[in-house]
């Protein structure tokens, strides 16, 4: 079973994402911010990361830059999932090493399509 790390400071979003991703046969690990997410990744890299942008302590962009510098950190497929819906943010995320980008609000079909797009399902 593949593991997906869900990083979002909103417990509601984490719950929705968990429900969708468990339905896609992923094992879910949750983190409330980028720093917690990095700690999770140090213990073991997940196959996928669903990542919010704006979070306290460490935002999604900083987390991604740190993740990609870790040994083996280029392996997880990272899908941003954020309300930052403008082209400038998308371009910045791609430049930092994101594989895909979901603009909130999202639904199950969108998550499925994006995970399919990056070869996770």
């Amino acid at each position: 079973m593949k593991t997906c790390l869900v990083v979002d400071d909103s417990s509601v979003i984490r719950k929705v994402a968990r429900r969708i991703l468990e339905g896609m046969d992923f094992q879910i690990v949750e983190a409330e911010d980028g720093e917690q997410a990095l700690e999770v990744c140090k213990r073991g890299l997940p196959e996928a990361v669903l990542l919010d942008w704006n979070m306290p302590v460490m935002d999604g962009y900083e987390f991604l830059r740190n993740l990609r510098r870790m040994p083996g950190g280029d392996a997880p497929k990272v899908v941003f999932c954020t309300t930052e819906n403008d082209v400038a943010h998308i371009a910045r995320a791609l430049h930092a090493g994101a594989d895909e980008y979901i603009m909130k609000p999202f639904d199950k079909d969108i998550v499925t399509a994006k995970f399919h797009e990056v070869g996770l399902i």
Partner: protein, 288 residues
């Protein structure tokens, strides 16, 4: 809805659009026609059926459109577009090297995501197609969806279904929550209204035909008729792409499945009646 209303709608839709509505798809009528009834300030479907029976043409078209408009998304099923990029186009580039032109038909384009996906595949192939004339003809029964297609405007939800984010950034312009395809991609596709039940030989010859996720709504005889007519306008070395749940097997021998590319079909030249006209043409030329 009374059984008589259902029977009327079933026959009406079959005659008008070829849509074959089995009893278990009854729910489709409720979900598709109730919003139309509300828009027309009618209390429900019985009243809508009554108006259709009385025979006003714009309403009849609206009913057909409401029942035949299907959700679609960019790069639907992904695989056909991989086939297009990896084999169909490269092989045709070799086969058509002297005439340097390619014609592709999307036979039921709905709101435009499929023909525009094809256009983006061609655009991404860039240099390889430099100096080539490429035509993408996209047809659909519904005027409403064709208008939407031409506009190239898509909601945030629509652009997130199947469209890789890199292509969104590259080929779309954002205006709030609406995204518009760039004019150069839009200009690659010509949209035309067409009913697949009627003659479509005027469209001319094609190298590739995408006819995906539309034949599932037709009965067997209609499917066979459409396959045979597509065969006549597909070049002998052309390709037919069908939807993931569709096949020619058991229906017609005018096409045969590609041995390795799932969902892609080739003219069956040993058996296809479609080669008869070209043979008779050759005979006519030989005896002229």
């Amino acid at each position: 809805m009374t059984p008589a209303d259902f029977d009327f709608l079933r026959k009406f839709l079959k005659d008008r659009s070829g849509l074959d509505l089995s009893a278990e798809k009854r729910y489709l009528i409720e979900s598709r026609l109730l919003p139309l009834a509300r828009r027309l300030n009618l209390p429900g479907i019985p009243e809508l059926v009554q108006k259709v029976r009385s025979g006003t043409e714009p309403l009849a078209s609206d009913v057909v459109e409401a029942m035949t408009t299907n959700e679609t998304f960019f790069f639907r099923d992904k695989l056909p577009f991989d086939h297009l990029r990896e084999e169909l186009i490269p092989k045709l580039l070799q086969a058509r090297a002297s005439r340097k032109s390619l014609r592709i038909w999307c036979a039921a384009c709905s709101t435009g995501q499929e023909p525009y996906s094809i256009a983006m595949v061609l655009k991404e192939m860039g240099e390889q197609l430099a100096g080539w004339r490429t035509e993408i003809i996209a047809t659909d029964l519904s005027r409403a969806v064709l208008e939407k297609s031409r506009s190239g405007l898509f909601s945030q939800f629509e652009v997130q279904r199947g469209l890789p984010i890199q292509l969104l950034v590259k080929y779309f312009r954002q205006s709030g929550e609406i995204w518009q395809l760039n004019p150069d991609i839009r200009a690659m596709v010509q949209f035309r209204q067409l009913n697949l039940l009627q003659d479509f030989s005027h469209l001319g010859k094609f190298d590739i035909v995408f006819c995906r996720n539309v034949l599932i709504y037709f009965d067997q005889d209609t499917k066979i008729s459409i396959f045979n007519r597509i065969s006549k306008l597909l070049e002998s070395d052309g390709y037919l792409a069908l939807g993931a749940a569709e096949t020619v097997v058991g229906l017609t021998d005018t096409f045969k499945p590609h041995t390795t590319r799932r969902g892609i079909y080739l003219q069956n030249l040993e058996r296809s009646p479609s080669i008869v006209p070209s043979i008779s043409n050759q005979l006519a030329l030989a005896t002229a």
